[in-house]
Amino acid sequence: MTSSPDPLLPAPPVAGRVLDAQLHLLDRQVLDHDGVPVTTVDDLELSGPAVDVEIEPGTAAPVVTALLTGPVLGTRIFGGRPPSSRLIRIPWKDVAEVGVVLRLGISGEPLDAGWVERWVRDKIIARIPGGRHDPR
């Protein structure tokens, strides 16, 4: 047992809006720049320091680096963690707006997060007659 850590300093005042990751980010809908749903925020990726590593005084606070989706939902609910190769990431720099939903500044079409949707579309739904019919 090393010496007990110094009491935490109060959080420095910040400019702008304070977001609660649990309340304002997790489980929110993600839309692309055309308003098409991409996914829900299943988990968040934070930058270091790693878990179980002694934190040196003066280390910069971790920042959100990416939104995560895919198998991570299952592990978030039932425990464990998927191998990092199986994480589907949406880099934080692509997030344009955080409101009731998270809006991306890019198109959702080429994202990894949409591969199941694309697969179902190309292999099944688009092949059924009328699959590309515009209802309006």
Binding site: D27, P37, G99, R118, R121, I125, P135
Partner: protein, 408 residues
């Protein structure tokens, strides 16, 4: 003028769309066994569904978020998933029951065995979901469902002793029944009136039709006028059963017994109309539940959804609905009685109610979503009262089901 027509149309479809196989069967069963002594439960249920449908519609109009997105955001992934599992299974049961209901009604009309009608009914449901525009779908089934008013007409034609009928309205357990079966059917009726799919469908429909806060007034009129009138239709079904079936000692176990009072009161034409009404009402509800199963899944997982998109632009949503319909066909193909599936689905609905309605109440108070359209104080008090009622019904449902042997 056009606006007035829109309001009238909205009310009419709300009336016609209110009754589904759950309401038809449960009200007839209750009417034939308990007379009108459980009508008060219908009233409680109708006020509840008005309250929460209106709230979920307001959330959808103000924030563009449908109910299940809100449920996941507020309950988190774990409780949200539990709710999804429960709601989805109940919804699947209801899809099965509604398709079975369409098939049974077609059997009554055509004398062709209902199992042969099931693939036809399911295919028709899928074609409408796949191809027909949302507003047309809703208006056509809603308006055709209005023919169920024949239950009210038949009640008058039966010339019942109105004084005696009114005397049954007081909540009291009939001699031949126990307080347990009485409570069990109270919960079934409550579940039938407040089935969660109605708010999933209602709020998602508001997004489908692109409602904004400007449409709130019309939405409120649709709900506050349409649903109570739909509730009166439910009462008429129970009253018909109470007048004809209760004295004769017939207990309702099939759809033919549900329509028997109409045939007696209004003759062949009445029978024809009631069959049209039942096909339209159950078909409409089959559409709503099928869509709701897609809505709940898509909104939980954040998939692209909606009939306003091309099917290829909401691929997983459409695939999910196809799978649900296939599962429904498979379940019915085992020969299970659709009426029995219905009776169980309404009770299970009652069990899942709290997890659905609590997040709606929370978000309807969140200014980030609602801006100035947050709940007023009266609505919040009513909402809290209903949450207590819902919780009691939900906790009591399974014990009562065991004690009464599912109401037998």
């Amino acid at each position: 003028m056009k606006r007035l027509l829109g309001v009238a149309l909205g009310i009419l479809t709300a009336i016609g769309g209110f009754v589904d196989i759950g309401d038809l069967v449960t009200n007839a069963v209750v009417g034939s066994r308990f007379g009108l002594s459980l009508v008060w439960v219908v009233a409680v249920g109708v006020v509840g569904i008005c309250l929460f449908a209106n709230m979920s519609g307001r959330v959808a109009a103000a924030s563009g978020r449908a109910t299940f997105e809100v449920i996941r955001e507020r309950l988190g992934a774990r409780a949200g998933l539990a709710n999804l599992a429960a709601s989805f299974l109940i919804n699947l049961m209801t899809v099965t029951a509604e398709i079975g209901g369409v098939a049974l009604a077609l059997q009554l009309a055509s004398s062709v065995y209902y199992l042969l009608w099931i693939p036809v009914a399911a295919l028709a449901v899928w074609l409408v979901v796949w191809r027909v525009r949302f507003t047309i779908m809703e208006n056509v089934t809603g308006l055709l469902g209005l023919t169920l008013i024949i239950f009210a007409v038949a009640l008058f034609l039966l010339k019942p002793d109105w004084g005696m009928l009114a005397g049954q309205l007081a909540p009291a357990v009939p001699e031949q029944e126990t307080v347990w079966t009485y409570s069990y059917y109270a919960i079934a009726l409550f579940g039938a009136a407040m089935t969660p799919y109605e708010v999933f469908f209602f709020s998602s429909g508001a997004v489908e039709e692109g409602w904004t806060v400007k449409d709130l007034l019309q939405e409120r009129i649709n709900v506050l006028v349409g649903f109570p009138l739909g509730g009166l239709l439910s009462v008429a079904i129970a009253a018909c059963a109470a007048v004809v079936l209760l004295p004769a000692g017939i207990s309702v176990t099939s759809l033919s017994q549900v329509v028997l009072p109409v045939a007696e009161g209004a003759g062949k034409i009445g029978l024809a109309l009631v069959l049209v009404g039942i096909v339209a009402a159950t078909f409409g509800a089959a559409l709503e539940t099928t869509l709701s199963s897609g809505y709940t899944l898509a909104q939980f997982f954040g998939w692209s959804w909606g009939k306003f998109r091309r099917p290829a632009e909401a691929a997983r949503f459409h695939l999910a609905m196809i799978v649900c319909l296939l599962v429904g066909i498979a379940v019915l193909a085992t020969g299970v009685d659709p009426v029995l599936v219905t009776e169980y689905s309404v009770v299970f609905s009652a069990i899942a109610l709290p997890l659905t309605y609590l997040p709606i109440l929370i978000v309807a108070n969140d200014p980030q979503y609602m801006r100035e359209h947050v709940n007023g104080r009266v609505v919040n008090v009513l909402g809290m009262v209903y949450l207590v009622i819902i919780l009691v019904a939900s906790i009591a449902a399974i014990p009562l089901m065991i004690v009464t042997g599912a109401g037998s």
